[in-house]
């Protein structure tokens, strides 16, 4: 499947697996011995760890140093503070996942003003100029991933059924794209279905948000949760007595893979390729450092994961086997 989502400013996608340094560029990158800092929204998800693994492997391949890895724990103030600190550090570039489109401009702007190269993951803060302030945004085709999630959800929606979309409260480009992609697919393929939305302010609050959504919509038939970590909270809420509904989510983390293996309420996962996305971000940073303008919007296509193809999916995305059934809780 070809990536179908456009970038934060309408950029056409460049495939992540096609982004490579030429031999002379690789030579210059190695000779540069660049230092790169990585600033992530969270380190609590397998997605983050996979993304980081892609970044680290690529930078190490080109003899670049990981100066520091920062976990912002979904805190915008913390992200601004850390970026302001890093802006004055002995680094050449920052790879950052902005926590939302607003509220984190100050820190990112400081990095740019200090003359460091900036590559973004997933989000572009409003006010940062593409190709001027930052080199690229590396992400998944989240619009397409929303469509995959809808396709996975559809068999669990009865005729004229009700689908809940449980998404993040903050203005986040990728979760918005997932929701729009999900709605567009449902609108075209399942016009009979009614879509309702609930929001969670923090990952920890996702279970409570699911229960609120159930209270407000007692005819709910299934739910799409924006990514795996809040989906695990929803599954925990179900275990503790909340109504059991078919659940579909995004991102193939270790824990969510175990849940899918079990064959419980979790019916499917629209997976990203975080290792490839991280590798592409690192490549984009190195390209910028050796004087080439990388594409503005680099994406990898999503993958439909069900219990049936879990092993193959884990093999493809993680480059390691899926968690065995006996490890399941």
């Amino acid at each position: 499947m070809q990536a179908i989502g456009l970038g934060p400013h309408g950029e056409r996608p460049f495939p992540a697996d096609k982004l490579v340094l030429s031999d002379p560029e690789a030579e210059r990158a190695r000779a540069g011995r660049f230092a790169v800092a990585v600033v992530l929204h969270t380190m609590s998800s397998d997605w983050s760890r996979q993304e980081l693994a892609g970044i680290v492997a690529t930078l190490e391949h080109y003899d670049a140093t990981i100066f520091e890895i920062v976990d912002c724990r979904f805190n915008k103030d913390r992200q601004n503070r850390e970026l302001l600190r890093l802006a004055n550090g002995p680094i050449d570039a920052v790879i950052s996942l902005p926590i939302g489109t607003s509220g984190v401009l100050e820190g990112h702007r400081a990095v740019v003003n200090a003359g460091k190269k900036l590559v973004l993951l997933d989000n572009a803060p409003s006010g940062l100029r593409p190709g001027v302030d930052y080199l690229s945004v590396s992400s998944a085709d989240n619009f397409g991933i929303g469509a995959i999630a809808a396709e996975l959800t559809s068999p669990h929606v009865p005729n004229e059924g009700v689908v809940g979309i449980l998404t993040y409260e903050s203005e986040f480009f990728v979760t918005n794209e997932r929701e729009i992609g999900f709605r567009k697919w449902m609108g075209a393929e399942r016009p009979d279905a009614t879509l309702v939305r609930g929001r969670f302010a923090s990952v920890e609050e996702a279970g409570a948000a699911y229960e609120r959504l159930l209270t407000m919509n007692d005819d709910l038939d299934c739910a799409f949760v924006a990514w795996d970590v809040p989906a695990l909270r929803v599954l925990a809420a179900i275990k503790q007595g909340a109504r059991t509904l078919p659940i579909v989510t995004v991102d193939l983390g270790d824990e969510i893979a175990k849940e899918l293996r079990k064959g419980g309420p979790l019916k499917g996962i629209a997976a990203q390729r975080p290792f490839d996305q991280g590798a592409a971000a690192a490549n984009a940073a190195l390209m910028g450092l050796v004087g080439r303008s990388p594409p503005g919007w680099i994406t990898s296509e999503g993958l439909k994961v069900t219990r049936e193809n879990l092993d193959a999916a884990c093999d493809a995305l993680w480059r390691k086997p899926a968690p065995p059934p006996q490890q399941s809780r």
Binding site: L6, H9, F14, V20, R129, R183, R292, S293, P295
Partner: protein, 464 residues
């Protein structure tokens, strides 16, 4: 050929009901309210003293109008300024969050929607691929669904104070006019002629709508917030599936007598004389240098083996576009690099006489091709400097767009807000607190509704 629709709904003064007794500020103070709000909004005067001086109004009147604007939710007290021999003055702040502008852009292969605040800053935007051959009804439905999604949990319909819409130039041609373009080449856009997007969107969202061409909106956007920010004389070139240009002179957007200025894609190049353009002529810039031309050349090169990268892409995905040419050039494919360089040279040579004529301070290159890397930008620069008079290129800046595909949305918001807060219009709606209630606009909507009911009622928009 008739004029391109310039939608400025509800400009006629609405009838006011006169009450007995002394008029209130809301009844009589529209002019001074609008003037004071304009000073605050544009940052000309933000303390009471400065407002009194700039507006040439007395203290009591200024106090009364500020209290009214505060009550209407349009201003609020801000920070304290530095004291100059007395009490520190309190600044007043324009509440940009009091309302919003729905903005959209429809292009040949994509559409974009966004919501801006009243300062014109985009709060949220979304871009997606579309197929114009689905027709204007389908696009209107999609815009409606996306607008509803944008407003949901961001203030609802009442937050939409205005709508700004950018459409492809050829979609704005009046069906009653002569067929200036080859109809066969434009079959996809035939259905767009005379489709009244502005009225349809106004009816659905209860807000006045402004429509301009994509290129004109992009030019305005680049002048307000992009590569031409701070300049008054600019030439903005859109290098995308087709090539077009917008001109601003003395800070004003040039639209042309009929609103179609900027069709430079139909300038003759002296090359590719065997290829007929959709306008009927041969060798136009569009057929040799546009994204569509590049895609055509790329496909041929993939088939006859001139580009290994393009051949691989055709094998992988069945087709190639200008996007793949950009990617190929970035990956070091010599054919792709040469194709982009040729395109840049031809665009630059077409622009050179315009640079001589207009003497702009900045030439902004926008559109997908402009962001394909350094090759095309360098080629355009080289051709302009080589072919233009040294006097006009001495201080000329040739830059790439800093807004990418958001320029049209920012321009659409800027255009709508400029007109919304223009004194004659603002005077009419300000006392009512929102332009949605402007009497002349309400009358316009009532008339449009009545006219729509007469022939055939259209299906209501489905909720997203």
């Amino acid at each position: 050929m008739g004029a391109m629709p310039s939608v400025e709904q509800g400009t006629a003064a609405g009838a006011k009901k006169r009450r007995v007794g002394r008029p209130t500020t809301l009844e009589s103070g529209g002019g001074s309210l609008a003037a004071i709000l304009s000073l605050i909004r544009n940052g000309v005067a933000t303390t009471r003293l400065d407002i009194e001086r700039e507006a040439e109004l007395g203290r009591a009147v200024v106090s009364d109008r500020l209290a009214t604007l505060e009550r209407l939710g349009l201003i609020e007290e801000g920070h304290l300024g530095p004291a100059i021999g007395g009490r520190a003055p309190r600044h007043v702040r324009f509440r940009a969050e009091a309302g919003g502008v729905l903005v959209a852009q429809v292009d040949r292969a994509s559409l974009a929607v966004g919501l801006s605040d009243l300062s014109g800053a985009l709060i949220v935007e979304h871009h997606e691929a579309v197929d114009l051959s689905d027709g204007p009804d389908a696009i209107l439905e999609r815009l409606t669904v996306l607008f509803i999604w944008l407003l949901d949990e961001r203030g609802g319909k009442s937050r939409a104070w205005a709508i700004g819409l950018a459409l492809p130039e050829v979609a704005l041609i009046d069906a009653n006019d002569g067929d200036v373009f080859n109809a066969a080449g434009l079959d996809v856009l035939q259905a767009w002629r005379n489709f009244d997007f502005a009225t349809e969107l106004s009816l659905r969202f209860g807000a006045p709508c402004w429509v301009r061409s994509n290129t004109q909106m992009m030019t305005l956007g680049e002048m307000r917030a992009g590569g031409a920010r701070g300049f008054q004389d600019i030439l903005c070139v859109r290098l995308d599936r087709s090539v077009s240009a917008g001109v601003a002179s003395d800070g004003r957007l040039h639209r042309g007598s009929q609103g179609y200025s900027g069709l430079i894609g139909h300038a003759p190049t002296g090359e590719a004389e065997d290829i007929t353009c959709r306008c009927g002529a041969k060798g136009c810039l569009d057929v040799v240098a546009s994204g569509e031309a590049l895609a055509r050349e790329a496909l041929a090169a993939a088939k006859d083996g001139r580009s290994r990268y393009l051949a691989e892409m055709v094998e992988r995905q069945g087709d190639v576009t200008a996007n793949e040419v950009s990617h190929g050039a970035q990956l070091g494919d010599a054919f792709c690099a040469e194709l982009l360089a040729r395109s840049g040279r031809l665009v630059g040579e077409t622009l050179a006489p315009l640079v001589n004529l207009l003497n702009p301070a900045v030439v902004v290159l926008a559109g997908a091709l402009a962001h394909s890397g350094e090759i095309i930008l360098a080629a355009v620069r080289e051709a302009i400097y080589r072919r233009s008079h040294p006097l006009v290129t001495r201080d000329l800046r040739i830059v790439r767009s800093e807004l990418a595909g958001s320029a049209e949305l920012i321009g659409a918001a800027a255009l709508a807000l400029d007109d919304l807060f223009d004194l004659p219009r603002a005077r009419e709606w300000l006392p009512l607190g929102t332009p949605r209630l402007q009497p002349s606009f309400v009358n316009f909507l009532a008339t449009a509704k009545a006219q729509k009911r007469r022939p055939q009622a259209s299906a209501p928009a489905r909720a997203p």
